[in-house]
Symmetry: C2
Subunit: 324 residues, 2 copies
DNA sequence: CTGAAAGCGCTTACAG
DNA sequence: CTGAAAGCGCTTACAG
């Protein structure tokens, strides 16, 4: 049925060994022999079976990617970055999610043991880090894309959260804002601590409300502060979704943005362009993070030593109307 | 190094055949023998090599997914639906994109020939349909998620675009709107023709502007009509991005929404909740489309006959403030 | 109920 | 420069 290396060998009048050698350009092969083999390959439309190659070579030329969710607003960019890089290197990408708790983790582990892939890119492991560490110790190359301040044993890609927070503060300060409200994300996330520390290092404030990265937390924080008569002239929200809630609450309360209150978010998800007014925000280089992580993993698989410190990619302040 | 079936066999004092039988619960095996084998498997942490199993069985227990882009706003939901379904069936998902033109297509085809996966879910193939048809004729099971009005030889999952357009029109008519503007997507897309036909079957109009699914086209259409003094009391945009542009242009022109003009979009992407005002829109069941397509493919792989007509999933009007 | 052997489609020492 | 043979880790008739 399908064309195998044996068919090519027979047709070309050589051994399978020789065919294998011209496919992989390994070892010396006579020029005219090689040409003949290549011709037969083209003519028969032969493509080596990835399964057989993998079995014989002990590697699958496939990388795995484990993500907590595929519907987070910035996940598409990360994925695209990883896929592009992996495809360009002629690797396949096997995608896994771990949103069904223990069951998914177990299934995933079993794929690891099955050697279905050679290495793994992980995005923000929630409570699987111990597990991943065990797999890594067992020999699985892993690269992490993470902002939660984990300090894993394996290489990771992060972004400049501290500087990102600082850049938001500098921008507000330059606009003459002196009394900012900060609405954070979950405080056990490293990125949240860093964004906050960076911000207050430039623009100290005692108005810090603990949020949880949802729209509702932004809305509630603003409503409550306004209701209790607390004054502020700007808001730094730790992500764009929260900032969207802030904008909505301010509008409902009759405060103008940026006239009365300037608002800065974090992430620069697609929505940020479309809020009213469009949101000034600290852009995370999500696609680049995906590309970088994939590149690190591939070079690791290729034998290059991995960096021992996390690779840090720069954020960038994107100025729109909510804080000109 | 790694634990193989031979290790298990030796440790349990049986043949590899027997181990294979208990793993796959195939053929009769003595109860106590089976128990012993299972014990050894657990104790050694044995997991069959997916590559070897695939080679021996001639199938990979993996499905492929080919998408044009991973960063489209609704792609995350589709992907999640596919991944969840595929994982639940203990299959792996191999992800491919075709955004680098001929090169990606070629790479992808070679993976097909390499038998890297058993079946394929395709989302909106741009100009690869002929190619896919060839692969399908060559024996590759394919399920399409598509709204462009292709009529492929293989099963597909679509949504009720005609009824979706009609539901938007009924909603506007019920609100007393009589002079709607329709801004379409690319007119060679089947979904665009259907949405338009559905809409005008309920609420005829001569105000139809051809758009291209971008924000700018929505903005320009509104600006130009207003500049030329054409009156309208509502807008039906063929996707939410375009509707966002419409909202922005109306606001800039000092028209109130929905007071002066009601606006309805299509898709219900995450952004739709966050526009000003929040967007009334026709929701596409994107996640469900992913789940359904994956389920169809899996049951096809399982030997079930595939339906010959496209499977149609219902849209749903989501009412928010832009058209209450 | 169980096992020896062939086979899946490759790669890779080894020998020439 | 080339090939016969063993091996990668499984499954599956076939025979008992």
């Amino acid at each position: 049925m399908r064309v195998t290396i044996a068919d090519v060998a027979r047709e070309a009048g050589v051994s399978k060994t020789t065919v294998s050698r011209v496919i992989n350009t390994k070892g010396e092969v006579d020029g005219s022999t090689a040409a003949r083999v290549r011709e037969v390959i083209a003519q028969l439309g032969y493509v080596p079976s990835s399964g057989a190659v993998g079995l014989a070579r002990g590697s699958s030329r496939t990388v795995g990617m484990l993500v907590p969710s595929l519907t987070w607003p910035w996940m598409g960019e990360v994925l695209q970055g990883v896929v592009d890089t992996v495809e360009a290197a002629d690797y396949g990408l096997l995608l896994f999610t771990c949103n069904r708790g223990a069951e998914s983790v177990e299934r995933f582990t079993s794929q690891v043991s099955a050697r279905a892939f050679d290495g793994l890119v992980v995005v923000e492991p929630e409570n699987t880090l111990d597990h991943l560490t065990a797999l890594h110790r067992g020999g699985l190359p892993i690269v992490l894309i993470d902002d939660r301040g984990h300090h894993p044993e394996f290489p990771s890609v992060v972004t400049t959260n501290h500087e990102g927070g600082a850049s938001a503060a500098r921008h507000l300060r330059a606009a003459g804002r002196t009394r900012p409200l900060v609405i954070t994300g979950p405080q056990d996330f490293g990125c949240v601590r860093d964004r906050l520390a960076g911000f207050v290092s430039v623009l100290p404030t005692d108005l810090v409300v603990r949020g949880d990265f949802t729209e509702i937390c932004g809305r509630l924080a603003v409503e409550q502060l306004i209701a209790s008569g607390v004054e502020f002239d700007s808001v730094f929200a730790h992500n764009d979704i929260t900032a969207a809630g802030v904008l909505r609450a301010l509008r409902a309360a009759g405060r103008s943005v940026p006239g009365d209150i300037a608002v800065v978010g974090f992430d620069d998800i697609p929505m940020a362009e479309h809020t009213e007014p469009p949101l000034t925000t600290v852009r995370q280089p999500t696609r680049q993070m995906g590309e970088t992580a994939a590149r690190m993993l591939l070079s690791h698989l290729g034998g290059t030593a991995v960096p021992d410190a996390p690779l840090v990619l720069p954020t960038e302040l994107v100025v729109r109307h909510s804080a000109p």
